[in-house]
Each structure stands twice: as structure tokens, then as C-alpha cells.
């Protein structure tokens, strides 16, 4: 019997297939050919195609009633690539998700996380935190929102008002890179009004070293180019990034570049899945990044492969770098990194001879005790090759969370107000003005003006601020209350000590869609004083998110907040009411009706306030209207350039032509100026109004008699000033004789102001639009950052070094008495652990898995993902395993010099070299061999639980930013 099925299919399939791969086809196969060949037209039953199955019968009736079928466009929340998703919603229920082929970023593609994001909307068997909870006698008890908010705010106020042992600085607020821009921005404002700078978010432990190191090199601390722009690269070096697992959809662009001839190189301690897709892979000893980069530069300078003209015109201090590089002979490089001369030379030659070439990094470079030096050395490599400000070149720095870039830009940073304005007196005065509050009132909210202007405690070290001797702190009280507002504790090192700190707190609050490992860790050691408040996800509210390439995408709300959860901004507003500053908090922002008619801040109006205030990094041109027009017209943007070719938004009449997708910041001036956004930073080949630029003048005009401004002839295309110039202020504009190009109103606003504080945008308009000049000036990039401890990046051995013989030559820093309000140890720890390698002979490093994200509480609660990775494991080389009598897939104990030990499954593989082990960091829910299932609120434990690698990771922080060391430490593995 051979049935032939009814041939009723609508069969628009081939055209979908072409759309699916269209962006990858180039011009060689055109769409029309396909359409003709298959004789297909779209259309038949286009509405019917969206019909959800389980509502088919109902839907037929519903259609008659007007139909409640809606398609909401949102952005995946699982990494910084920014994949678009069409969510099909019926009567408020999220029933399907469809690929958005038109997105120039992901062309419909998803990894395991993006393809299963609909789980967000599943109500049956959900592992979400469903109601507010309170720990009573060691057990979780349901409470109402009213009770929870009252008790939490009463306790916080009591601590705040305790003159003896409290004050606002006794609280610590951990915000989130999962918050959208508006929420992140409100979070900074909210905690400021509570009266402290003690706030932070994931960027601290993800790219803080990048942000500080890269911004101090050339102006802005962000990815210079974009994932898409890799299609223009001829050579791509992945050094400290495993994109195939951490940013899978970015590989769409990488592999396309590779197919067009680009060389793909991976240098990593581990043969990653990215390495499996590369042309060339070389292994390096973990933590020796600077040595490798200087080794490359050694060959570049020796062979004259550097771009001398570029260096002369656009780089300061390369001579000092050359002097350091000279020490890194191939022999020395091999001794330190384990890489052979031929290998290092090969990478250098490929990068130098296949330009434009780009370098990609993520946590592999940043999470080290000398992270700031590593990222700067990478910048210097690209400067030496003349690769920065060039399409296909740049430093492609892959951020982690979906909005970690945005939260860094405008969110809860302990050392800066939104937009990197800092926390100087002037910064506070400026932002008081933007917020519409009295500066004196705001100052009165803080314990003192000194603390108002002192960078707060970092999230990486909150446990030390609880445990440290009080006299060692650079603030009066120790921390007594910590609020985890969308942050996983298991993504931070020294987990065992964190549990001790949790014990000691007066109050611990978790505000999160999931109870997170915090809840379980706290319930393991506490009886009371812990609250869990259910927050909504980003699928349950609208707002904008900044992808790694600085493109800003607007999310529509897909569904109402599920269960008893509330949006983060609603919770902030309700707490502000309790604290008594709701009016000031919302002085210039509209309120709107949220879930169940409750009041919450309006997200679009919040973005408008960001637009009014953040001139420094050009968050001013991205009005909600422009962003939303982009989201409705994804198809007009070119995949390779991200630029709109024509196009007009049908709904608003907005002309899209010339805009770059998502108006990647900086998008200078107000929205009316219609700056298109900047696809590649510092690109002098384009006019300012076409998204061009140059390096920033942020460090003065000269240093020790050497000119810091760009040399003659080096400037953005069409600039009226054809040499270097300082940043723009009212004096400069007058000197240039361009003041009268301002309108009378603009003159009034701009008098006494600079481009960062002129809220009319007039200064920028005249300078940029009329004269093609860059408001932040035109200077050289700094290969030598004199304000950092290591002006020229130096190799320093990790605190827990596997090579004690190298410690004397490459020691770490001296201990520091006060960094970010606390002492931090370097030399003491390194010296004390000089012989640790004898007992702990294996290098322990950690990283990501494709199925999970971050601390993993959300993704390990998604059954479609959880099924794919059911157990925490350690990758260990067959030699190391055999020497320990360990076979594949059996339990082992991994112990570190902290004495913490974790029980995980062995995965015996040559992915890691002998002497190195790798553990993924997404797991939590076990603690030193014990399953914490009973410590989660019932029904809210993640499906998959396992040991957190960070229970065992050791001490270590970057000297500039307090980035944690998670990539290089020592351990021993033994059969369990």
C-alpha cells in the first residue's frame, strides 16, 4: 500500500527557503529564479498560516469575531547578538514563534536558546517564581505583594536610617544586564535617589576590563564594528571567544566570510567548537594572553608589517610599546605561552597580510587579574596593523547578555551616571537637571557629598564588603542588605565565601523571574530575612535593548506578566513610593497603567528622557518612533552594511533611507537631526553625518610635549577642520566663528556648555552637520594609557600560577589598600600560593555551553534546553584522567586551593590539553556534593541542577575594574 497524500499544501515553501538563506547568497542566485522555477506565490491563506493548532477550532470562530491573533516582534534575551523573533499570540497566550527572515542581524536563525524561547509563555509545568515569598524558620512561605513590599521597604529604611551602623551605603543593589535600557536607566536613578552608589550589574564580571581598557585607548569601550561587518573581513582571529557556543548566530556571518575566503584563526587553551570551524587552531596556556599578543607584535615590527602612516597620524605611544615588545623574543613567548615561534608568526602574518583583519574576544580576555592589560594589548595589535576604524577590521568585542551593552551605557554603574558622565559634582548637577529634581535634595539623599562622588562597591566583591573588617572599608558601614535584582550568584567566583556573607546579612532580597540559586543558597544557611519577589521577563514588557554591535532594537510586549509577577519598572516605582521619592523619580516621565491597571513608568517616555540626557555616547537620536519604524521595516536594511537602502515606514511616513539598522550608537544629536547611527566606530572614510568618525580627544591635547591630537590630514571625510582638534564646547565654536549658525534659542541653551551638556543639541548640529566635525574632537588613540597602573600592558602571572618559576620575572601587582572602597590583594595571594601547583597541578578554566546562558536559572528551567545538558561536568584530558584512575562519565571531585570541592561528572576528551581542565559555569543547585532541591520554593527549582564551578573558584581581581579572575586558577581532580 502506498498512499499519496492529498496534495493540498499551499507550498510557498521554496520562496521561504530563499528568504531563509537570501542574505547568505550574495548576488549569485536571485530570488526571482526560485519563484519562477517553483511557480509559487505567497498569499493563499496568509492569515490561516499563522493559525495555531490547538486553537484551530476556536480560532475559526474567533476569526468571525474579528480575531485575536497577533504577531508581536521581540528580540531574544539570551545573548548580545540580538536575534529577532515573531511571537504569535492568541488571546494573550503565546502559542508559536516564527523566524524573522528579514532581520539583517539573524536572518531568521536561532541557536538552541532562541529557538525555544517560547517556553517563556508556557504556563503548565513552569518553574518560574510564581508569587512573592518570604523565608520563615528556614521554609519558604507565600506572602502578598503588599506585605512583601511593606516588609522589604521597612527593613531597608530601617537600615538606611540607622545612624550608628547603617545608612544608604549599608545596602547593595545588584541590577541586571537583562533589564532593558529603560529599566537599567531607571535603576541607576532609583538607587541614586535611595542615596548610594552601591550598585552594579553583570558588566562588572563580563566586560568591565574591556570597557575601561578600550575606552581609555580610543574613546568608547564598545565593540567597534559589528557581527555583520565580519563579512567584510579577510582574516578573523578569535582570541578569548568561543562564539560557536556563546554567540552561535554570529557564526552565520563568520562562516559566510570564511566561505568568501577569510582566514579564521582560533587561539585558545581549549579546542572549542569555534576552533572546529576555523582554518587554524593553536593552543595557548591560559592566562598568558599579553605574552602572545606581544609575541605577534614582535614579528609584525620585525618584518615591518605595521601600518607606519596610520600609527604616525592616529596613534600615541607606540614607541613605548615597541620597547616592551622587544623583550618578547620568540623563545620567551614560547617559554611563557607554550606556543611555538612558527605558530605565533603564522597568526601575525595572516593578520598582517590579509587586511582588513579583525580580532574577536569575550570573557577569555577580560576575566583575568590583568584583564585591562590584555584587552589593551589587543587594541594595540589592531592599531599597529591600522585595522581600527576600518570596515572588516576593528575589535569585535562580543558582549554577553542581551542588554549588557545598554545597561553599561545607561544603567547601574557604581562609578558613573547614565552615559559615562561620571559622578563628579558637575555630573550630578547635570543629571539633576535632566531628571527635573533639585541637586541639593539629591545630595541630601546621600550620607555625604564625599560618598556621593565616590565610586561604589562592585558586584564582584559584595561579599567582601560584608565580611571585611570595618576599619578597612572606605565607607562607614559594612553591607547589611543586598538586593539581587536579576543576577545569578553562581556566575561569580568564590561561591563558598559568598554563602558565608549571605549568612551574615540582615536582609537578602531576590527580584527575579526565577528564584535563582540565591534563594537556595540563602535558604541552606538562613532561617529568615530573605524575600523573593517575582519579576516579569523581557517578553512581558516593552522596551529597547542594545545589541553588542550597539544597534538598539525595540521589543514589543509579547504577553502580560505571568503568574503574580510584575515588571521591574513597576516594582521600582512601588518601592520608590514606599521610600517616599516616587514623585522625584517620575518628575519628567509619564506614568501609565500596567498589569491589572497598576501604575508603572511609561517605557517610551523613559527612553525619551534617556534621549534628552545621554549626549556623550549618542543615545539621543534613537527616539522610540525611529526605533519602532526600524522594527517594522527590517527588510530594507542591507545585511553586509546594515544600512537602509530606501524605504519608508508605512505607519508613520518616516523615511528609513540611509539609516543604519538600530541606529547603532553613537547616533549624535537629537532625532530631528537624523544622524544615521555609527556602524563602525572611528571610521574616517565616512562623513560624520554618514556614521563616520575618528578617535576621541578625551585625554588632553598633549602629553609631555607630545601631540595627542590627530596629525594633519587625518580626519573624518569632509570635515572642515583637517587636522586634530579638541572636543567641542561653546568657546571652541565661537573661536571657529561658527557660533552664529546657532539659532537664538540654541545660543541661549549652549552658552557656557559643551557638547555633552548642551541639551538643545545645537552645538552638535552646527559642528557635525554644517562642518562635518566630530563633537568629541579628533585625537590619537593611546597605545600607552598613563593613568593605568600598567601604562603599557604587561604580562603578569596569574595569582594561582601553574608556573612558579615565572612569578619572579612576571609578578602580579602589589596589594592595594583601597580600590572601589575596599582593599584588594595581589602579591600576598600570589606569594602564599606559589607552591599551590604541587597540590593542585591542573589549570582550571571555565566557560559557556550553547544550551544555557549566564547563571542558567532560566535556561535550566526550560525543558527543551534542559534535556540537552543534564549534568554538570569537567572536561579532562585522557592522560590526566588515566593518571588519576578516572574513567569517562563518572563522578569526580574537583578541589581548588580554597578547599572548596565540587562533585561533577568527568568528560574525558582531548578538547583540553594535559594539565588543563574546563568546566561550564551555568550550573547551580548543588553545593559541595549536595543537591539543594529542598531549599528552592516548591515547584520553582530548575529542572537541571548541578555544582556551580564558581563554588570552587579562587580569589583574584583586575586592578582597574575589580573584574573577577575565573579563567585561570588551579585545581586537583580525584575520583569520587
Amino acid at each position: 500500500m502506498l498512499l499519496t497524500r492529498k496534495s493540498t499544501s499551499v507550498s510557498a515553501s521554496p520562496s521561504r527557503l530563499t528568504r531563509n538563506v537570501a542574505g547568505m547568497l550574495g548576488r549569485t542566485i536571485d530570488r526571482r529564479t526560485f519563484l519562477q522555477r517553483s511557480g509559487i506565490t505567497l498569499g493563499a491563506g496568509a492569515v490561516a498560516t499563522q493559525l495555531p493548532f490547538n486553537l484551530v477550532h476556536k480560532a475559526e470562530a474567533a476569526q468571525d469575531a474579528g480575531g485575536n491573533l497577533e504577531v508581536k516582534r521581540t528580540i531574544c534575551t539570551h545573548c548580545s547578538v540580538g536575534c529577532a523573533i515573531d511571537a504569535v499570540v492568541q488571546n494573550g497566550v503565546w502559542i508559536r514563534q516564527e523566524p524573522v527572515f528579514d532581520s539583517p542581524i539573524n536572518l531568521g536563525a536561532h541557536c538552541a536558546k532562541g529557538a525555544s524561547i517560547r517556553e517563556h509563555g508556557m504556563t503548565h509545568d513552569s518553574h518560574r517564581l510564581k508569587t512573592p515569598m518570604k523565608l520563615v524558620g528556614g521554609k519558604w512561605q507565600k506572602v502578598t505583594w503588599d506585605q512583601a513590599l511593606k516588609e522589604v521597604s521597612d527593613k531597608l529604611l530601617a537600615i538606611r536610617n540607622d545612624k550608628e551602623k547603617g545608612g544608604p551605603d549599608a545596602t547593595f543593589w545588584i541590577g541586571s544586564s537583562k533589564h532593558n535600557n529603560e529599566q537599567s536607566y531607571l535603576f541607576r536613578k532609583f538607587v541614586s535617589m535611595f542615596g548610594t552608589n552601591n550598585m552594579d550589574h553583570q558588566a562588572r564580571i563580563c566586560h568591565s576590563t574591556t570597557v575601561a581598557g578600550v575606552a581609555n585607548t580610543w574613546g568608547y569601550g564598545a565593540m567597534t564594528n559589528s557581527y555583520n561587518d565580519e563579512q567584510n573581513s579577510k582574516c578573523i582571529l578569535f582570541f578569548g571567544s568561543n562564539a560557536a557556543e556563546a554567540h552561535p548566530v554570529s557564526m552565520l556571518h563568520t562562516l559566510h566570510a570564511k566561505e568568501n575566503g577569510a582566514k579564521v584563526i582560533v587561539v585558545d587553551p581549549r579546542f572549542t567548537r569555534t576552533a572546529a570551524k576555523a582554518d587554524t587552531y593553536y593552543r595557548i596556556r591560559s592566562g598568558t594572553d599579553v605574552a602572545f599578543l606581544w609575541g605577534m607584535l614582535h614579528h609584525i615590527f620585525k618584518n615591518g608589517w605595521e601600518d607606519k602612516e596610520y600609527i604616525k597620524a592616529r596613534v600615541y605611544g607606540m614607541d613605548k610599546v615597541q620597547a616592551e615588545v622587544a623583550k618578547w623574543t620568540p623563545e620567551e613567548v614560547e617559554k611563557v605561552t607554550g606556543m611555538k615561534e612558527a605558530e605565533v608568526r603564522d597568526v601575525a602574518e595572516k593578520m598582517a597580510k590579509n587586511k582588513p583583519s579583525t580580532i574577536v574576544w569575550a570573557m577569555g580576555q577580560t576575566q583575568h587579574t590583568n584583564g585591562n592589560a590584555i584587552v589593551r594589548a589587543s587594541c594595540i595589535l589592531q592599531l599597529a596593523l591600522g585595522n581600527v576604524g576600518v570596515s572588516g577590521g576593528g575589535t569585535n568585542i562580543y558582549r554577553g547578555h542581551d542588554n549588557v551593552q545598554g545597561a553599561t551605557d545607561v544603567g547601574p554603574n557604581p562609578d558613573s551616571l547614565p552615559g559615562y558622565y561620571g559622578i563628579f559634582t558637575g555630573s550630578w548637577k547635570y543629571w539633576s537637571g535632566v531628571w527635573g529634581v533639585d541637586y541639593e535634595w539629591l545630595k541630601g539623599r546621600f550620607a555625604s557629598q564625599a560618598l556621593m562622588e565616590k565610586p561604589g562597591i562592585t558586584v564582584s566583591r559584595w561579599q567582601d564588603a560584608v565580611m571585611e573588617k570595618n576599619e578597612n572599608l572606605d565607607q562607614d558601614p559594612n553591607l547589611r542588605a543586598v538586593i539581587f535584582w536579576g543576577h545569578a550568584p553562581n556566575s561569580q567566583n568564590r561561591g563558598k565565601e559568598m554563602v558565608e556573607a549571605m549568612k551574615k546579612l540582615d536582609l537578602l532580597v531576590v527580584i527575579d523571574p526565577y528564584p535563582s540559586a540565591t534563594a537556595a543558597m540563602a535558604a541552606m544557611v538562613r532561617q529568615d530575612g530573605v524575600y523573593l519577589l517575582p519579576a516579569a521577563t523581557q517578553m512581558e514588557c516593552a522596551g529597547s535593548a542594545t545589541a553588542s554591535n550597539r544597534s538598539i532594537q525595540w521589543r514589543e510586549k509579547v504577553i502580560e506578566p505571568m503568574f503574580d509577577s510584575r515588571t521591574d519598572h513597576m516594582i521600582m516605582y512601588q518601592l520608590a513610593e514606599k521610600f517616599g521619592f516616587a514623585k522625584e523619580f517620575m518628575a519628567k516621565i509619564k506614568l501609565t497603567k500596567g498589569k491589572e491597571g497598576k501604575t508603572e513608568p511609561d517605557m517610551e517616555d523613559t527612553l525619551r528622557e534617556i534621549n534628552r540626557g545621554v549626549w556623550t555616547i549618542g543615545y539621543t537620536g534613537q527616539s522610540p518612533e525611529r526605533l519602532q519604524a526600524h522594527m517594522r521595516n527590517l527588510h530594507v536594511f542591507d545585511v553586509k552594511t546594515l544600512r537602509a537602502k530606501g524605504g519608508k515606514d508605512a505607519k508613520t511616513g518616516y523615511v528609513l533611507d540611509g539609516d543604519y539598522y538600530g541606529l547603532p550608537w553613537p547616533c549624535y544629536g537629537n532625532a530631528a537631526l537624523k544622524h544615521p547611527g555609527s556602524p563602525n566606530l572611528y571610521d574616517t572614510s565616512k562623513h560624520m553625518m554618514d556614521g563616520g568618525g575618528n578617535f576621541r580627544a578625551n585625554f588632553g591635547v598633549e602629553k609631555d610635549g607630545v601631540n595627542l591630537l590627530a596629525e594633519d590630514g587625518s580626519h573624518s571625510k569632509g570635515a572642515d577642520i583637517t587636522t586634530g582638534y579638541p572636543e567641542l564646547d561653546h568657546v571652541l565654536l565661537k573661536k571657529l566663528g561658527w557660533w552664529d549658525e546657532l539659532s537664538e534659542g540654541e545660543k541661549k541653551a549652549a552658552e557656557g556648555k559643551n557638547w555633552k551638556t548642551d541639551m538643545s543639541g545645537g552645538l552638535i548640529r552646527v559642528f557635525m552637520k554644517n562642518h562635518g566635525c566630530h563633537p568629541f574632537g579628533n585625537a590619537k588613540a593611546r597605545a600607552m594609557v598613563w593613568n593605568f597602573p600598567d601604562a603599557v600592558p604587561l604580562h603578569r602571572e596569574p595569582l594561582f600560577s601553574p608556573r612558579p618559576d615565572l612569578i619572579e620575572k612576571y609578578p602580579t601587582h602589589a596589594d592595594q589598600k583601597n580600590r572601589w572602597r575596599m582593599p584588594v590583594l595581589f602579591k600576598t595571594v600570589q606569594d602564599a600560593n606559589k607552591d599551590a601547583v604541587k597540590q593542585y597541578p591542573l589549570i582550571m578554566t571555565s566557560g559557556r555551553l550553547v544550551e544555557y546562558e549566564g547563571g542558567g536559572d532560566e535556561t535550566r528551567s526550560n525543558p527543551w534546553l534542559a534535556e540537552l545538558q543534564q549534568e554538570m561536568f569537567v572536561e579532562i584530558n585522557p592522560k590526566d584522567a588515566n593518571d588519576r584512575g578516572v574513567k569517562n562519565n563518572e563522578y569526580v571531585w574537583v578541589q581548588t586551593p580554597t578547599k572548596a570541592r565540587i562533585k561533577v561528572k568527568s568528560q574525558v576528551t582531548e578538547r583540553v590539553a594535559p594539565g588543563t581542565v574546563f568546566l561550564p559555569f551555568h550550573f547551580a543547585g548543588w553545593f559541595e556534593g549536595k543537591d539543594l532541591l529542598d531549599y528552592y520554593p516548591e515547584g520553582a527549582a530548575p529542572i537541571v541542577r548541578g555544582e556551580a564551578v564558581n563554588t570552587a573558584t579562587t580569589y583574584g581581581y583586575d586592578i582597574v575594574t575589580m573584574m573577577q579572575e575565573t579563567k585561570t586558577t588551579l585545581c586537583q581532580v580525584a575520583k569520587a
Binding site: M1, L2, L3, R5, S7, T8, S9, V10, S11, S13, P14, R16, L17, N20, V21, M24, L25, I29, F34, R37, S38, L42, A46, T49, F53, V56, R96, Q97, P99, L107, G108, A109, H110, C111, A112, K113, G114, A115, S116, A244, E245, P248, V249, M251, L252, K258, E259, N260, F271, R273, A276, K277, Y281, V850, W864, E867, L868, E875, T909, R911
Partner: protein, 207 residues
């Protein structure tokens, strides 16, 4: 009429499992049943290659040949489907299938396997299109909606192609020409027959 096929480009597959969760999500497939999975060869060493595998909807499908109750049938587009009402869960198809595609939701001794489940190329089953019964037994029917299989549509790197064989062969041929390698199309010889029908067949190419 189109002839539907799957093609997985091993030069592009990064083992991200997007295809696997796309499938699970779209059809709400229970834990333990995997219509699609990613297989990696040479894991962790140079030469590592991954392939996404599901029912290939073979031209001369062995499952159909061995089924004692003739529950399989083939659509006019070449999609191999089966009727769960007829299936007795004997497991012969599983032994016959060169790709390990048939899945059995229940473990245990003979007779307790339950109805076989496998990839439908997102084409549903014998029940009326878009009916509740069709969804429950076979999942969604994307082909009838004018869409292609969710796994291929959402593939992170466009490694997995699913659709009209002429079209996917052209896309693949274009890639192979550009990169000058990777002409081996995994599984096509087994699934779809004679090598000369494969795209961009080159001397020495494996199938």
C-alpha cells in the same frame, strides 16, 4: 511539484542544537523523544564535524518496506509519514532505518514501546490539516501553511537546509563552489539514491 529533502552542511553546522529545540518547541515533543538530534564526529579534536540528523524522508524508504502493518505513506512532495492509529510499535522501522530516526516514547519490553514517532518534515499526518488530532499525534503542519520545517528555518548558520531538493541543491552547490570544499553531502547517497543525483558531486566525494 517539489521533492522535499533535508541537507546538512557539515562545514557549517556548529552543533548549537537550534534545530533540536526548534523541533521540540514547534511540536511540543515530550522529554525523551528526539525527532532530530545533532551528531558530532571526532568530538574535541581537529576534524570535528557535526551533522543534524532526523528522518531523511528517503526516496526508497526502508521503514516503509519493513512495516508489518503498512502504516507508512508518502506525500506527493516525497515526505514519508505514518499513521499512528495503525502503528503497533513493533520497532522494525527502527532497525531498518539507516538514520536512527524512529523514536519510541516508552521504554520496556516488547509491546510496550508505544506508537512510533518521527520527523514529519513538519507536514503533520493523515488527520485533517490543522486539526487538534493532527497536532496531538504528529505536531504542526507547517507545509500546509506554506512554511518549511522549523528546524531548517531556524538553523543558526543555515547549515541545515530543508525544502525543494532542486533549491537546496543549488544553494549548496553555490557554497561548495565558493569555498572549494565540503562537497560531501552526508547521508544523501543513503537517503536519495544514485550519487549522480547529488549536488556538486566530485570525484572521490563520500556519501
Amino acid at each position: 511539484m517539489a521533492r522535499m529533502k533535508f541537507l546538512c552542511d557539515a562545514e557549517r553546522c556548529i552543533e548549537c542544537n537550534g534545530c533540536v529545540t526548534a523541533c521540540k518547541q514547534e511540536h511540543e515533543i515530550p522529554w525523551g523523544v528526539n525527532r532530530r538530534r545533532v551528531v558530532t564526529l571526532n568530538d574535541g579534536v581537529p576534524g570535528e564535524k557535526s551533522i543534524s540528523v532526523a528522518c531523511m524522508h528517503c526516496s526508497d524508504a526502508p521503514c516503509m518496506a519493513v512495516c508489518p502493518v503498512d502504516c507508512f505513506y508518502k506525500t506527493s512532495e516525497g515526505v514519508v509519514l505514518h499513521d499512528k492509529d495503525l502503528c503497533i510499535g513493533c520497532g522494525y522501522c527502527f532497525y531498518a532505518c539507516p538514520f536512527g530516526a524512529p523514536q519510541f516514547p516508552q521504554d520496556g519490553a516488547f509491546g510496550l514501546r508505544g506508537k512510533m514517532d518521527k520527523c514529519t518534515f513538519c507536514a503533520g499526518g493523515p488527520e485533517p490539516d490543522f486539526s487538534a488530532a493532527e497536532f496531538k499525534k504528529y505536531g504542526r503542519n507547517r507545509l500546509a501553511e506554506g512554511k518549511l520545517p522549523a528546524c531548517a528555518e531556524m538553523c543558526a548558520t543555515k547549515a541545515l537546509l530543508g525544502g525543494d531538493s532542486d533549491v537546496i541543491a543549488d544553494i549548496y552547490r553555490n557554497r561548495v563552489l565558493k569555498r572549494g570544499k565540503g562537497s560531501e553531502v552526508w547521508g544523501w547517497g543513503t537517503a536519495y539514491g544514485k550519487p549522480e543525483k547529488q549536488p556538486a558531486a566530485q570525484p572521490g566525494a563520500k556519501s
